[in-house]
């Protein structure tokens, strides 16, 4: 039987209250949202917080809100809500692509976007999604609010810039015209960690050339996006040879490890093939937006 080590439990009643509790209980306290990463780690005693601060009552952090040229998503928004949002699917189809393959439908009822990003598992899908969409993380702490680009938010596996006394409150996604995005993952079965995945976001100029592009990989040993691919794609007319070359660059840039999910060669092959597919799909979606 897997039971966590003893801890004290408290429910936060507001963001301010959560911050106060974090300050009061210090380094031995952890925030719990969906709990589908933290509780398994606590059961295995890999994590032994003395205090659990439950933020599930903070409904003010559960929202999807269009605000000018940004889409604001509360950190406590559940995976199921993101998957089912037609507004998100229209603006950022990559989110629906990714959400459909995150864990399983029952786990998605509990898990949250903020929890996934703060857990920062190398096989976590939404980090790649946020990277390629150029999202910003809104973090609140005792000193007030700070807004970080994803490149500054990530600090490596299981680490983020969110301090012990801070709370990730919101993600902001820039809305761009003539944009398309896509995500594709290979997993051994539903709910397993990814063998590998790729995400792409593309913005087209009025003449149909690629104005901006970002390619990211999940579980393939690459932090941040494939800079070489972005440089290659910018200013070019979308075409198959370009996607092939971007795939080659992604495969060269990644640094996968061999494990029970596959050898390095296979994972590099996935980086290549999945990059081609998501770029093809992202460009097709961007072109449809343009026609629309």
């Amino acid at each position: 039987m897997q039971i966590p080590a003893p801890f004290d439990y408290v429910r936060a009643t507001s963001v301010d209250n959560a911050l106060e509790l974090l300050s009061r209980h210090g380094a031995e306290s952890r925030v719990i949202a969906g709990g589908h990463s933290l509780l398994p780690m606590m059961k295995l005693r890999l994590s032994r917080p003395e205090w659990l601060i439950d933020i599930n009552d903070l409904y003010e952090l559960d929202f999807i809100l269009r605000d000018g040229d940004k889409l604001r998503v509360g950190a406590l928004t559940r995976h199921t809500t993101l998957l089912e949002s037609d507004e998100i699917a229209a603006l950022f189809p990559i989110v629906r692509d990714a959400e459909a393959v995150i864990a399983d439908p029952v786990v998605r009822n509990r898990g949250t976007i903020g929890g996934s990003l703060c857990q920062a598992d190398p096989a976590e899908d939404l980090s790649t999604v946020c990277d390629v969409l150029g999202a910003e993380a809104v973090i609140r702490g005792p000193a007030g609010e700070r807004i970080l680009a994803m490149a500054d938010f990530h600090r490596g596996p299981y680490e983020t810039a969110v301090g012990q006394d801070e709370l990730l409150c919101e993600l902001r996604f820039p809305i761009r015209p003539r944009a398309g995005s896509a995500y594709e993952k290979v997993e051994r079965r539903v709910g397993d960690w990814a063998v590998g995945a790729a995400g792409a976001s593309v913005t087209l100029a009025a003449d149909g050339t690629i104005a901006d592009a970002a390619v990211g990989l999940t579980a393939l040993g690459l932090a941040h996006t494939v800079a070489e691919a972005a440089g290659l794609l910018r200013g070019q007319q979308p075409r198959e040879e370009l996607f092939v070359e971007a795939g080659r660059l992604a495969a060269a840039a990644c640094d996968p490890v061999a494990d029970q999910r596959g050898p390095i060669d296979y994972k590099r092959h996935l980086a290549d093939e999945l990059t081609r597919r998501v770029l093809r799909q992202a460009c097709a979606r961007a072109a449809r937006t343009q026609e629309g």
């Binding site: 039987m1 897997q2 039971i3 966590p4 080590a5 003893p6 801890f7 004290d8 439990y9 719990i32 709990g35 589908h36 509780l39 398994p40 059961k43 659990l52 439950d54 599930n56 199921t80 864990a103 399983d104 439908p105 029952v106 786990v107 009822n109 509990r110 539903v190 709910g191």
Partner: protein
């Protein structure tokens, strides 16, 4: 710590340790052993209960986190002597073999039908994709949910899915769908 919640319509109050998981609280404190405890790692889904109408894996929810919420277990499916159509469907279409995954499967099916009263087989398969039947009886589980969808008021237990779903042979369709899935995955 003291917790209060509603379980199958009844208010319950208990004094528990914060680390008690909802599945153990339901089974050991409330004595409702219809909720099964399986893998302990939120993979198998036999411990699924409904929390405010949504399926959750109760091995990965603290009882403390469920406080103030509305929990429904397999014991809360039937009303009196009348089985829920999902339970009837599992009887009619042989949806259970060893029975271990059945409570979780039935609760997920109930939540699916509450949200989408006429799911197709793909939607049913997706809904139960986080749950494992080690007898591998998925085809009959899907047919059981279809039966429940076709009989929202239960009753008439003589009709079979084959008769209800346009007389088509759903078993053959299932095999075709599985083959297609396997091809896509490879």
């Amino acid at each position: 710590m003291q917790i209060n919640m509603t379980v199958n319509g009844n208010e319950v109050t208990s004094d528990i340790e914060p680390r008690v998981l909802l599945v153990h609280y339901i089974r050991e404190v409330l004595g409702l052993t219809g909720t099964h405890w399986g893998c302990d790692t939120s993979n198998c889904g036999t411990c699924v209960v409904l929390m405010d109408g949504q399926p959750v894996k109760s091995c990965t929810v603290l009882a403390a986190m469920a406080a103030g919420h509305d929990i429904r277990t397999v014991e809360g499916l039937a009303s009196g002597a009348t089985l829920d159509p999902v339970q009837q469907g599992f009887m009619e279409e042989h949806g259970l073999q060893c029975g271990f995954c059945t409570p979780g499967m039935m609760l997920t099916a109930r939540a699916l039908l509450d949200k989408n009263p006429h799911p197709d087989t793909t939607e049913i398969r997706k809904a139960i994709s986080g749950q494992i039947c080690r007898c591998t009886g998925y085809a009959t589980i899907v047919r059981s949910v279809q039966w429940a969808a076709a009989h929202p008021a239960g009753g008439d237990t003589d009709a079979t899915v084959d008769e209800v779903i346009d007389g088509t042979d759903t078993a053959v369709e299932d095999i075709a769908a599985e083959t297609q899935d396997a091809e896509v995955k490879s």
